[in-house]
Symmetry: C4
Subunit: 126 residues, 4 copies
Amino acid sequence: MQSSIGCKRWAIAEGYIPGWSHGPEPQFTSHETVCLLNASNEDAHVSITIYFTDREPAGPYRITVPARRTRHVRFNDLTDPEPIPRDTDYASVIESDVPIVVQHTRLDSRQAENALLSTIAYASRD
Amino acid sequence: MQSSIGCKRWAIAEGYIPGWSHGPEPQFTSHETVCLLNASNEDAHVSITIYFTDREPAGPYRITVPARRTRHVRFNDLTDPEPIPRDTDYASVIESDVPIVVQHTRLDSRQAENALLSTIAYASRD
Amino acid sequence: MQSSIGCKRWAIAEGYIPGWSHGPEPQFTSHETVCLLNASNEDAHVSITIYFTDREPAGPYRITVPARRTRHVRFNDLTDPEPIPRDTDYASVIESDVPIVVQHTRLDSRQAENALLSTIAYASRD
Amino acid sequence: MQSSIGCKRWAIAEGYIPGWSHGPEPQFTSHETVCLLNASNEDAHVSITIYFTDREPAGPYRITVPARRTRHVRFNDLTDPEPIPRDTDYASVIESDVPIVVQHTRLDSRQAENALLSTIAYASRD
């Protein structure tokens, strides 16, 4: 249907959960988020695979984004099949059975004042 | 005409208006902005739909960007058909009848020093 | 030649030069930059047009990026045919006669600690 | 194989390693990073060329990203064939023999509180 927008395969090459935080939780807990938008009229079944520098990938982590909903998932909260280590470089590939849109955001509160970054993820148009 | 640039459907998967602010208003009010550029020679009639985590979408919010103009619209200021709640995750789809370019920016002034993020939105090339 | 990379038409929908600054100049002067990379073996003749909210566009501003060079141009420094006003929303279209790559960055030093944003510009693949 | 994602040629038009830092090393050393994700089942042999404002390009800098791994490389750490000067504008082109995904991040700790920026790099789909 015309309501769907996006792609079925995305990647985020940057990934890093800072090791500590300042300020009131949970808003100011240092975190890294993958924002998922499913504008279609069908539920999206999403699988995330995490890549590391020196070991085989972890996952898949499975998330459902219902039809016409967004979910902003903190990598900090992914625990099944295993938690994502802090203060460690990683990257991710996001796959969905319906088109979705993916954006990547980090809030770093290791110092007294927080810092932010965000970028659209890489959309595979193959 | 050659002057137009962009696409007619865009999406921003991240969306979050911080719940409070520091510093002089309106520049340092925590805000989230959608920047719209219409380089064409026809007015752009833009509709924004807002997606949430746990309810049906809101909108459409209607905005006109005149020919050869830019408008930087704060989500904070969208009130018709309903205001966008603070401290709440959302996402947006932006549709226009002529090609436009869309960029997403947030200024977060919840702490004493402000933080910024920005990214090009997702352009649907379908 | 294989060395060239990029597109000939780009757009940046966000644009805003903060009205004041903190810290040592010129590094900590609040500024907005368009980064231009010309990896080709021919000089790039670049024209920038600036769009506003409530008046006709300004420009073209003309910049040459020599073959195999990058130029990081502060919008603050564009003066011909007219300076870009501070504390004012704008947007830009960047056109080149050879393929280039364009990225947008802001350093905001209005408060004691600086904030940064950056994004790839919108590449027109038409 | 279906596991690979990305492109073989990328570019980052922004590049600047701040000249000084605050806070504990190495996390808070001002740095500029190129994040490389190789989700394929073959090793990626990556070449980075650095472009400047007023001299011929430097490089290639050669990096291997093993199959199913990510590497987050600080430009600060590139020394062969020559180190990248601090407080100097540059840009980069990244080429790989298998598809990869590239993202660009800077942490600027010149002031007491750090600032962050990140963007997906430009993907050449030619």
